[in-house]
Point group: C2
Chain length 189, copies 2
């Protein structure tokens, strides 16, 4: 993962990964038949780390401030802009891995299939939460709308951390939530 | 550009580009010293095509329906979701080139500098239009918010054209505009 974030896909050679992981080239080749498989595995690793982080960071907020505040934090984490996200290079690593994953997913194949499945699942998850928390919205449209916004923020975090520091991204997501709330009120009147 | 969209960065060899352009390998090498330069040039080409298309498609709308309708069309074009965008592979080409450009821009260098400059310019442009059309908004936040949304939609258009057909992206951008308008009304009250 570190290799991918620092060197990009061109730098993602079997030799590099073996060196980073401190294992033999044969050991890496045993696990991953191709760069694409390595990329799918790296993205899966980022996803797993994200799920652990999301549970750890949203659980106390859910208890203290309720489900809407917890969902806000979840969305900020998805845009790699959580309260504890570092400003530096390391802080953008998950977004960088995700962006390579997305770029590679523009070609048909294993990477594209994995990406499409992961993003459909994410949209479905957002859809379910929006139905619960913002019942007067068009949840189908709002899920895709929110996901596009978070994806765009994640791209900016990965490519332009100076233009898009975490605090700016968090503020934008908060605005979006205020609008979802306002939408509820408008529809109830 | 076609080579990049169909084969990705791995497939972007000097040989491929020469074959596609119908010129000699020496001819390509004469123009581009590296893949990075080729990528910057391809992105510049997409940007130039985009500007031509944007002027051609928004000018009649500006005259007939006014500046807000023209800006809406401009934003839909930026998300590669204009009214005339094809559903198929060809229709996603500009987004695919842009996504490779973004992924490569995560590494410091010429590509990153070109990407950062282009996106700052785009945000500044959106900022100027928002100040004119939605004067009661926080234009600085709204410009970054809108750009993130359009970028996220462009990623979805490039990677998941089935989940994000142009009509769905256009509907989301229209919702965003309705909210910008609602915001104006709320602040005026």
């Amino acid at each position: 993962m570190t290799v991918l974030a620092e060197n990009g896909l061109d730098g993602l050679s079997i030799r590099h990964v073996a060196a980073e992981a401190g294992i033999s080239i044969g050991g890496v080749q045993h696990h991953f038949a191709s760069k694409d498989e390595l990329l799918v595995a790296a993205s899966q690793h980022v996803t797993d780390l994200f799920k652990d982080l999301a549970i750890k960071q949203t659980q106390p907020i859910l208890v203290k401030e309720g489900p809407k505040a917890a969902f806000l934090t979840f969305c900020q984490l998805l845009a790699n802009s959580g309260p504890d996200t570092a400003h530096g290079e390391r802080g953008t690593t998950p977004s960088v891995v995700w962006l390579w994953f997305a770029a590679q997913a523009t070609k048909p194949g294993n990477v594209a299939d994995a990406f499409t499945a992961a993003w459909r699942e994410t949209e479905d998850y957002l859809h379910g939460v929006i139905v619960e928390l913002f019942p007067y919205c068009d949840a189908s449209e709002e899920a895709a709308y929110l996901l596009a916004l978070l994806d765009g923020l994640a791209v900016a975090r990965a490519t332009e951390p100076a233009r898009m520091p975490p605090i700016r991204a968090r503020s934008i997501i908060q605005s979006h939530f205020r609008r979802l709330d306002a939408h509820q009120i408008a529809d109830l009147q």
